[in-house]
């Protein structure tokens, strides 16, 4: 039968980024398929907030414990099985200067503590990110993935990312044409096409996940069929999206919705499993339990 199995014809592999000992992308088929000598495997990142916020979902408050301190959390993550570590520099808008100062103070220590490949994330606020991301790009003691630039911020942020040799995450809202346009615009500015990761800016489980799911599948199809401006690896910040959902936050649901502690983790797990099945190359998680579970299940490989 082996010889009769229908194979996917591709023109080109998804670009492969060699990053701090990891191979990101390089897909030669759809996920988990080994045809065309595909060796691509999804990578898992754990994401930690730099600052503790009172409105974190209960499940994460439990995970972070009392007296959250980013340096301790980074230390703890060293012994977890995440392929990458992502730090979210969630500067608070009512104390921007103080928070900047604290980041400045602790940055070197963080680079020191962790040996994991790093993703450094901005606030998702253009005004802050235009200051923050160039600072991180400059201060990083090794190559990092820096997230993200978008159409309204790339001109200000990109030069320092290029200069310091980082990998750039480009975010475009679930639209394949916009993704291509941004890839062209940024490479025109001097960004290396092999240093781009696409963020399709998708919704989490129950809140538009379907659009993102299909955009990932389409991006992969177009990439594998040889479009050199769309064959970059894909990253999904599923943790952030999952914990926006009321289902992952509220304990006020009826019994049929399941116990809160379980549901809140499963909300992220189901979304993460789906985007991995669709073809995401890096999945960024917030819950340690989801990380451990996913690592177990996809690690049966």
């Amino acid at each position: 039968m082996q010889e009769k199995l229908p194979q996917l014809k591709i023109s080109e592999k998804i670009r492969e980024i060699n990053f701090q000992g990891l191979r990101i992308g390089g897909d030669a088929s759809v996920p988990f398929m080994q045809e065309n000598d595909s060796t691509s495997k999804p990578l898992l990142a754990l994401e930690l907030p730099f600052f503790y916020e009172e409105n974190f979902p209960l499940i994460l408050k439990k995970q972070y414990g009392e007296n959250y301190e980013i340096t301790d959390a980074v230390k703890k993550a060293e012994s977890l099985p995440n392929d990458l570590l992502s730090i979210r520099f969630n500067i608070r808008e009512d104390r921007i200067d103080k928070d900047f100062a604290e980041i400045n103070d602790k940055l070197d220590e963080i680079f020191e503590i962790t040996k994991k490949p790093l993703i450094l994330r901005g606030k998702n606020n253009n005004d802050i990110d235009k200051k923050l991301l160039p600072l991180l790009a400059k201060r990083a003691t090794r190559q990092c993935i820096i997230s993200f630039v978008e159409d309204t911020s790339y001109e200000d942020i990109l030069p320092s990312l290029i200069e310091n040799n980082h990998i750039t995450v480009i975010r475009t809202p679930i639209d394949i044409n916009l993704a291509k346009e941004m890839n062209i615009l940024t490479t025109d500015k001097g960004l290396d096409t092999n240093k781009i990761i696409i963020d399709p800016d998708m919704g989490g489980l129950g809140y538009g996940l379907d659009y993102g799911f299909s955009i990932i599948e389409k991006l992969k199809q177009v990439g594998l069929s040889g479009d050199k401006m769309l064959n970059m690896p894909i990253i999904v910040f599923i943790g952030e999206e999952s914990y926006k959902a009321k289902e992952a936050k509220s304990t006020q649901y009826s019994k049929a919705w399941g116990e809160y502690d379980k549901r809140a983790i499963m909300w992220e797990l189901a979304g993460a499993s789906a985007v991995i099945a669709a073809g995401a190359n890096i999945v960024v998680l917030w819950s340690e339990k989801s990380l451990l579970t996913l690592k177990g299940v996809i690690g049966w490989n």
């Binding site: 039968m1 199995l5 229908p6 759809v30 996920p31 988990f32 398929m33 080994q34 489980l205 129950g206 809140y207 538009g208 996940l209 379907d210 659009y211 799911f213 299909s214 599948e217 389409k218 199809q221 926006k244 009321k246 289902e247 936050k249 006020q252 009826s254 019994k255 049929a256 919705w257 399941g258 116990e259 379980k262 549901r263 983790i265 499963m266 909300w267 797990l269 189901a270 979304g271 499993s273 789906a274 991995i276 099945a277 669709a278 339990k289 989801s290 579970t293 996913l294 177990g296 299940v297 996809i298 049966w300 490989n301």
Partner: protein, 432 residues
């Protein structure tokens, strides 16, 4: 793939410009006319004496079903299979993956578990979530229980080796998992370890005269990559190659030794990657809710966003002091807002604009939420006569429309609401 008239025409004498072109033996004026009718299946292929074998094969392939649809169950019927594409963006998926829960008649806690299955019900974004199908196994009172379950509205997959049981329960129109003989008209499972075994077993059982099959692919000791690989090949053989042996829905059973989180993870991947039925041993509400929410997402029609009827919705018996809000008719937006309003317990009118089911920002950028549209919707609602407070809350994402709206709606005060629906209760508390 269906053949088009033009594709067919190329094989005919008229299309090839050879002898006998437009000979009219088919009673059609030209080869082109015949080709067009043949594509629509309005004429038979054998009335053309010059039809090449190559085209005959193509036509034969084109009318083979890619994946058969199986309808099972008696009181409530469940449909599975019938899929036509590999990816959901190509064409809407046809029948939702069924999540079946296993019930063993020999288990002491049968009744307790059944009670939990029966009582699972909730509603999310307008869809009722419940368990439709039970995988029934074991021996004790299986016939009695199968009838009771059917009466209660469940469709059944029944595992039994007892020919008498099969005979007595066949009227419930279940899917049978059995090595024993089955009447020809029943739905029957082909259990197999791998792809090769499917062909072998299918040909054997098909020869006896069976028509309705479900493939049960054993995934119990396989790594996830092998599982997805086999499921993908089976679906490709069905959809792309139209291989008869694989033109059936596929069932997978989640292995026993997994915790709930692992069950959910594996089931989520199976749901996205081509399993038509997933059998789960345990009934855990959080697992089922997360899984059915994923199913709701994956099986929405990508060409048609979920939308609600644009109109004025009333909450908590609004009177002349009611709060007024406005948003678009994208279902997720509507339900997010509606949920919050309900929980606030304050009399409220929610005006939902006709925005083609787009979310707030998308609607705005596609000109489906303009100040003219907002004004028109508000005017048609007659709310100006119904309330004292002429205040209207607009979505936080549209704060830039405030002035434009004030211009258009001179008698109203425009309040820019929060960006996220969950911030609404606090916003209302601070502003009213």
């Amino acid at each position: 793939m269906e053949l088009t008239g033009l594709q067919i025409f190329k094989y005919l004498p008229g299309g090839k410009k050879t002898e006998n072109a437009n000979c009219k033996q088919c009673k059609q004026p030209t080869c082109m006319a015949y080709a067009l009718k043949l594509a629509k299946k309005q004429v038979e292929p054998d009335v053309c004496p010059y039809l090449p074998d190559e085209l005959k094969t193509l036509l034969f392939e084109a009318c083979k079903k890619q994946q058969n649809e199986i309808i099972f169950g008696a009181n409530n019927q469940t449909k599975i299979g019938g899929e036509t594409v590999m990816f959901r963006h190509e064409k809407t998926l046809v029948n939702k993956t069924i999540i079946a829960i296993e019930l063993n008649c020999d288990d002491e806690d049968f009744d307790e578990k059944y009670f939990k299955i029966k009582n699972y019900e909730l509603e999310r974004v307008g869809e009722k979530f419940n368990i439709e199908t039970i995988y029934l196994c074991g021996k004790k009172d299986i016939e009695l229980r199968a009838k009771q379950l059917t009466e209660d509205g469940f469709s059944l997959i029944i595992k039994t080796e007892n020919p008498e049981t099969i005979d007595k329960l066949k009227n419930l129109n279940p899917i049978f998992e059995t090595e024993s003989e089955c009447p020809q008209a029943t739905n029957i499972i082909i259990s197999s370890q791998n792809i090769d075994e499917i062909i072998e077993k299918y040909q054997k059982i098909h020869k006896i005269g069976h028509q309705n099959f479900v493939i049960n692919l054993d995934i119990s000791t396989k790594p996830i990559s092998t599982i997805v690989e086999e499921l993908t090949y089976i679906r490709r053989l069905a959809i792309l190659n139209r291989e008869e042996s694989f033109a059936h829905p596929v069932m997978t059973k989640i292995p026993e030794n997994l915790n709930h989180y692992e069950v959910l993870t594996l089931a989520s991947i199976l749901l996205c990657r081509y399993s038509n039925i997933i059998v789960i041993k345990d009934i855990d509400y959080a697992t089922i809710t997360s899984l059915l929410t994923l199913r709701q997402s994956i099986y929405t029609d990508p060409q048609k966003p979920l939308q609600v009827e644009p109109k004025v919705y009333e909450f908590n018996e609004p009177d002349e002091n009611a709060i007024i809000m406005m948003t678009t008719n994208f279902a997720l937006t509507y339900f997010a807002v509606a949920n919050e309003i309900e929980s606030m317990n304050k009399p409220t009118y929610l005006i939902v604009t006709p925005s083609d089911g787009m979310s707030v920002l998308t609607a705005w950028s596609a000109d489906k939420f303009t100040s003219e549209l907002a004004a028109k919707t508000l005017k048609e609602s007659n709310l100006a006569q119904k309330v004292k407070n002429k205040k209207i809350i607009i979505p936080g994402l549209l704060s830039h429309m405030k002035e434009e709206l004030e211009e258009e709606l001179k008698e109203w005060e425009i309040l820019v609401g929060p960006i996220e629906a969950y911030q609404l209760p606090e916003f209302v508390k601070n502003n009213f």
